[in-house]
């Protein structure tokens, strides 16, 4: 367990050093892309989500099972 933590920590340190060397602009772009992806996804949800959410949720009643 202790050994594992050390290994993971050193991995994390390496990662963060590499991160520091990365171009800040590239990071911003990837954050923008992330947001654009999520926006597209939410647009799609708006399209397919059951129109009357309240009724949809209320009507979904199941008998208990295992």
């Amino acid at each position: 367990m202790v050994e594992r933590e050390q290994k993971r920590k050193s991995q994390t340190q390496r990662d963060s050093e590499e991160l520091h060397e990365e171009d800040v602009q590239a990071k911003n772009e990837s954050a923008e892309k992330l947001k654009a992806d999520l926006d597209d996804l939410l647009d799609e949800i708006d399209e397919v989500l059951e129109e009357n959410a309240e009724e949809f949720v209320r009507n979904y009643v199941q008998k208990g099972g295992q």
Partner: protein, 496 residues
């Protein structure tokens, strides 16, 4: 040496009828399954009215090559892929065939979704205009009613059950951090309103540490002792604590990590590890209620650990165990290597950046949708739209499924999954069951997990026992099945 972890998943699907919310779920589940059977058998125009799902059809064959009825009064069929498709507790249930590895069990779980999709399509012509059967691969209706997704693993009977309980419980309390399917809110008595989003669908419904129940006072470790095999050699560990996963990666991790831990228990790898959680039922909910993954659980030796730390401690032993002999009980070297890498990558990401797993794990994918939607429309946590997203995540219709839209990474080839809808696994007794149904269905009076009963017309019924899940494989029986022109010839060849 740990024995092969023959495994599989049984899923009770949620069911509802668009246009008729009060429809009887038992009748509707029967329509759904009968529709699949008629479709798969190619019986276009099959008269549904003449088939009464309420009849006791003990030993009566549907006279089709693809299924027979099993011994119960509800609709109950066996498919040529070796799976069982039936009505259980007012839900349609698909029990996968016995699989040789977690990787294969994942494939047959997905094949089950495909069966249900086809059943939904087939059921359209049996429903009145304006009504449609829809099934959901989830575990709760958000109103306190839960239904299960159970895993089964073959274990060595010689391992004391008390040891399994002791060593497995901490793993079960914490594995939800990667195999939880996520839920908006909570249905646990007394907690309503206190939880916005939790990791697990099922954690709300567990009240005991160990027990026989599955529908009330559900226990973390279920003691059902029904091996469906030689009881002197095998145990079937019946796991009721899991969520129904849509994500292939969550499903594989759930099956794979559990199969590895069970092998470690059999091989004594955890005997020296002192890790027991105080109040496991309380801890289970505490972990589930904290998607930030910071919650700690207390151990009996006075430590305070996060779920991630508990999982790392299992993983560390697994890694050493792997170095010993590659864990052949859980799959090929390639499969186990993939599993361990996935397990390690997942724990690492959960530690540093859980949202990076939004295309991998169900709970993260769902939380990403719910959080994003809530922000965009400035909704409160009690807005029914968020509950609707939770529910619709599990709708298995491609045109409606939100899980599908979340862009989940996949591991399987869709052609392989399509084949697994009809073809049984080659490496277990499911092969014998499935292929006999395909070729000699007319002569099979009844089928069960551990036997087939043949009716050859003249003799008394003849039972072929299948008490070892690793016998009756392609290698054992395919030649004989190929060359037999009748069930009688097959039985003679078997010496049965």
């Amino acid at each position: 040496m740990a024995i092969t972890k023959v495994c599989g998943i049984e899923t009770e699907y949620g069911i509802s009828v668009l246009g008729s919310p009060d429809a009887n779920p038992i009748s509707v589940s029967s329509v759904l399954i009968n529709a699949y059977v008629s479709e798969a058998a190619g019986r276009v125009g099959w008269d549904f009215e003449t088939e009464s799902p309420g009849n006791d059809a003990r030993g009566f064959s549907f006279e089709t090559p693809v299924n027979v009825e099993m011994e119960t009064h509800l609709v109950n069929t066996v498919l040529t892929n070796g799976a069982r498709l039936y009505v259980d507790h007012a839900h349609p249930e698909y029990s996968s065939p016995e699989c040789i590895s977690p990787r294969q069990a994942l494939m047959y779980d997905k094949a089950g979704e495909e069966v249900l999709k086809r059943a939904m399509k087939a059921s359209k012509r049996f429903m009145p205009p304006g009504q449609e059967i829809v099934v959901y691969k989830n575990n709760s209706d958000g109103k306190g009613n839960s239904y299960g997704c159970h895993e089964n693993y073959m274990m060595d009977r010689s391992v004391p059950f008390a040891k399994i309980v002791k060593q497995l419980t901490p793993f079960f309390v914490t594995r939800q951090i990667f195999c939880g399917a996520g839920k908006v809110g909570t249905e646990a008595p007394g907690s309503q309103g206190a939880v916005r989003f939790q990791l697990s669908q099922r954690a709300d419904f567990f009240e005991e540490e160990v027990g026989l129940e599955t529908t009330l006072k559900r226990p973390i470790i279920n003691t059902r002792d029904e091996p469906h095999a030689d009881a002197t050699r095998f145990r079937r560990l019946h796991v009721i604590i899991g969520d129904a996963n849509v994500s292939e990666i969550s499903t594989l991790l759930k099956l794979g990590s559990t199969a590895i831990v069970l092998s470690m228990i059999e091989d004594g790898m955890l005997d020296e590890v002192e890790l027991q959680i105080l109040s496991p039922v309380y801890a289970l909910r505490k972990v589930s209620f904290d998607p930030g993954l910071k919650a700690t659980v207390d151990t009996t030796d006075g430590r305070s650990m996060t779920a991630l730390e508990v999982q790392w401690s299992f993983f560390d032993v697994a890694k050493k165990y792997f170095e010993r002999d590659g864990i052949p009980s859980v799959g090929t070297l390639e499969e186990v290597t993939e599993l361990l890498e996935l397990w390690e990558d997942t724990l690492t990401s959960l530690e540093s950046d859980p949202m990076a797993l939004r295309r991998r794990l169900d709970w993260v994918a769902k939380m990403n949708l719910v959080d994003g939607y809530k922000e965009r429309h400035s909704l409160g946590w009690d807005d029914p739209k968020l509950a609707a997203i939770d529910l619709q995540y599990h709708d298995i219709r491609p045109e409606k499924s939100l899980a599908l839209r979340a862009g989940l990474e996949t591991l399987l080839d869709s052609k392989e999954v399509g084949a697994a809808v009809f073809e049984p696994p080659k490496e277990t007794r499911a092969y014998f069951r499935g292929k006999c149904l395909e070729k000699f269905g007319d002569s099979i009076a009844a089928a069960n997990w551990d036997s087939l009963i043949f009716d050859t017309g003249k003799d008394p019924l003849r039972r072929v026992p299948m008490m070892d899940p690793l016998k009756g494989t392609f290698n054992h029986v395919d030649g004989l099945i190929q060359k037999s022109n009748s069930a009688l010839e097959l039985l003679e060849g078997l010496g049965a």
